[in-house]
């Protein structure tokens, strides 16, 4: 890059922002794709790939993508849970490439829950 100017510092910071956010584990939103054997069999790997691709395409820097085990409702896999900062989590079911991209754009970024794909709002009680 050659000798840096002061303004270059911000440019580099932007360039690695996704990495920084990911490493801190603090984004503005988090999408958890449920895997487990059932999830994978139903196509969860395609869902996470589509999600990664869409995040990249839209240049989003503060969305955390992560995986978890089976959510428990195996008949409705692939499933994903969307958590936006300050809002209750939303569970989505029967997902595929196309649906998850819509969810990312409309809910995660746009803030509107995609009701036709949603199962429930909120989470089960832990203990």
């Amino acid at each position: 890059m050659g000798k840096l100017k002061v303004s270059d510092l911000e440019k580099i910071k932007e360039r690695v922002r996704r990495t920084t956010t990911l490493r801190d584990g603090q984004g503005n939103a988090r999408v958890i794709v449920h895997m487990g054997t059932c999830g994978i069999a139903a196509g969860a790997r395609d869902v996470i790939s589509a999600l990664m691709d869409e995040v990249e395409k839209k240049g989003l820097t503060d969305v955390i993508l992560t995986t978890a085990g089976c959510a428990g409702l195996c008949s409705r896999e692939p499933m994903a849970t969307v958590e936006r900062k300050g809002q209750p989590p939303v569970k989505y079911v029967d997902l595929n490439d196309e649906k998850i991209r819509r969810i990312l754009n409309e809910h995660v970024v746009g803030g509107t829950i995609v009701e036709e794909f949603a199962l429930a709002i909120g989470s089960e009680q832990m203990h």
Partner: protein
């Protein structure tokens, strides 16, 4: 190609590397590729995480899941379960001592929870070999602000106001040192980073340089601007090959970006850093000996005044600070003096990095705010003493530090309180000792180190430390006399007062504090020829309890079989006996007896 969704942060500090971290990394790469996850899961090597006794360590981000004690054998299962199927693996997680449930998240683990990271802010989250990652976490912004918006005097004022005190041990007000260096006459000035870290068991500086070399570079460069230096030196001990490598790479990368060299950020400020390797002498951590070493002379300290800020390297004004001191500078510039001085105590601002070692459950490196108590560090962060044993003492400040007993556990840690207790902050070593430690033996042990490292220049240190060591050795061998105790105290104080440099001035501390707080142990060694902690072999008596031997052990003969000196007599089925004259007190009989029939007194 879409960027990865998960980063595996593999600790690649010296500790984990020597425990096989790179083998774990290779196995991870292989298994990730096997499952076709290379585009989703990134593997990143970072510097030391601090929780060294639990290495090799991998932290999974963004989940913050902490895996420890890994080896390549568990990797296939880990990759398939967690990274493919999304199910974190519980049996690879940390379980606090005395508990049963694992703690999955790093931020919930006691060891990490109470820490506050400033000097170590980037540990475990950046690859120290990628400068962009340092910049991504606001690296070099402080330098940019300093050279384009502030005058040297303003920088010095800020550092003075922050209250930062040297982290190398003496605790001199850093800003004041910079001010003196600036004021000194002459166009040629130097800044030096002391990375010699000679204290045995101390690895704070090594960790900083291995995990985040750029914070040191940035701090040093800011210091150079403030005092008016054009060249800087990092004096790093030769025994730190990995730190040396990362530092040199970081300097190259900084040069490529024009952050070192001519006209930094387009201003007329230019600065270069040279790396100088140490040659194995503890005394070269002392600033005047360090200077002599860089100049190519024998590493002997000299009289101060003149202090290096007036006449240092090649007789030019030189500002020397410790690695940890330099590491705090970028944050102080960025966040301000009020922010820094709001942390810590009245006299000691900010945080301190401590190496927590010895008889403690959670061995490792911690950074905590000044003012935290010893009790909190040892029990909340350190997880207490292993095996449920009783705490006895903690030695603070390296081999020249003092031993602090149980009664003072609620002492808030800061420069003044540790001095008052007879110890010192030093570089930040905290050696925890339990009931199985003999305090006389410990004093002897630390003195054997300082004695051998004495450069020999001044009589009080050269001969004084040897005399102290001889007396202590004599006492541990059971040949001590009551006069020895008063001689020890007298000579220790003379060595402290009369020695030329910090080595001699502090070497007697372990002796003086152990006599002060554990006088009864000295008296037991001298008067009763007994070692209460059962460590000093010459003072131990091994006997066999005849009833136990017959009733529980049925005269099994195991001890006699194992004794290297054939010092145990007895027929099978009958009580056995140790022949005291032949006994070399190796302790093997005690170790092999399954019936607790061997008594040690």
């Amino acid at each position: 190609m879409a960027e990865h969704r998960t980063h595996l942060m593999i600790c690649a500090g010296t500790g984990c590397v020597s425990n096989g971290a790179y083998d774990v990394k290779t196995a991870l790469e292989r298994e990730i590729a096997k499952h076709g996850l290379e585009h989703e899961v990134a593997i990143v090597t970072t510097g030391c995480n601090g929780f060294c006794a639990q290495g090799p360590i991998v932290v999974v981000q963004p989940d913050g899941i902490f895996y420890q004690l890994l080896d390549e054998k568990v990797v296939p299962h880990l990759v398939e379960e967690h990274f493919l199927k999304g199910r974190p693996v519980e049996n690879l997680m940390y379980v606090p001592p005395e508990e049963e449930s694992p703690v999955p998240r790093m931020r919930d683990i006691g060891f990490f929870k109470k820490q506050r990271l400033i000097a170590l802010r980037n540990r475990g989250v950046i690859d120290p070999e990628v400068i962009d990652e340092y910049i991504g976490r606001d690296g070099y912004r402080a330098l940019a602000k300093v050279v384009t918006e502030m005058t040297p005097e303003e920088v010095i004022q800020l550092v003075v106001k922050s209250g930062l005190r040297g982290r190398g041990g003496a605790g001199f007000l850093t800003g004041e040192k910079w001010r003196l260096a600036r004021k000194s006459e002459g166009a040629e000035k130097y800044v030096v980073c002391n990375a010699d870290e000679g204290d045995p068991g101390a690895f704070m500086d090594r960790s900083i340089v291995e995990s985040d070399p750029h914070t040191v570079i940035e701090g040093l460069t800011i210091g150079a601007y403030a005092v008016g230096a054009r060249e800087g030196f990092v004096y790093i001990r030769n025994e730190y090959p990995l730190a040396l490598e990362r530092l040199q790479l970081a300097i190259e990368q900084a040069k490529d970006y024009g952050l070192l060299g001519e006209n930094i950020f387009g201003t007329d400020f230019s600065f270069d850093i040279h790396v100088h390797r140490g040659a194995g002498a503890f005394v070269c951590g002392e600033e005047t000996a360090l200077i002599a070493s860089i100049e190519g002379k024998l590493g002997n300290p000299r009289q101060r005044p003149p202090y290096p800020v007036h006449s240092g390297l090649w007789d030019k004004p030189t500002n020397i600070n410790n690695v940890e001191t330099w590491s705090n500078i970028p944050m102080i510039i960025q966040h301000g003096a009020e922010w820094f001085s709001s942390i810590g105590t009245e006299s000691s601002k900010g945080t301190k990095v401590f190496s927590l070692v010895g008889q403690i459950n959670n061995t490792g490196l911690v950074e905590v705010p000044m003012g935290i108590t010893l009790r909190e560090i040892i029990y909340d962060i350190g997880g207490g003493i292993p095996g449920g044993k009783k705490f006895k003492a903690v030695q603070t400040g390296g081999p020249s530090g003092g031993c602090i007993p149980q009664e003072l556990l609620d002492l808030p840690i800061d420069f003044e309180s540790l001095w008052e207790a007879g110890s010192m902050m030093g570089s930040g070593g905290l050696v925890v000792m339990d009931e199985t430690t003999c305090m006389v033996d410990i004093a002897r042990y630390f003195l054997s180190f300082t004695q051998i490292e004495s450069c020999g220049k001044c009589v009080s240190c050269r001969d004084g430390t040897k005399w102290l060591l001889d007396i202590l050795t004599k006492i541990c061998e059971g040949k001590g006399t009551p006069e020895d105790l008063s001689t020890l105290e007298h000579i220790a104080n003379v060595v402290k007062d009369a020695s030329l440099c910090g080595l001699g001035q502090t070497a007697p501390n372990p002796v003086l504090t152990t006599i002060k707080y554990f006088r009864n142990e000295y008296e037991a060694h001298i008067n009763e020829k007994k070692c209460p902690a059962k460590v000093c072999k010459a003072l131990l008596t091994f006997t066999i309890n005849p009833e136990q031997c017959v009733e529980a052990g049925h005269g099994c003969h195991q001890c006699a079989r194992s004794c290297p000196e054939a010092a145990i007599t007895g027929d099978k089925g009958k009580a056995h006996r140790i022949i005291e004259d032949k006994c070399i007190k190796c302790g093997v009989c005690h170790d092999v007896c399954n019936f607790n029939a061997v008594m040690v007194e």
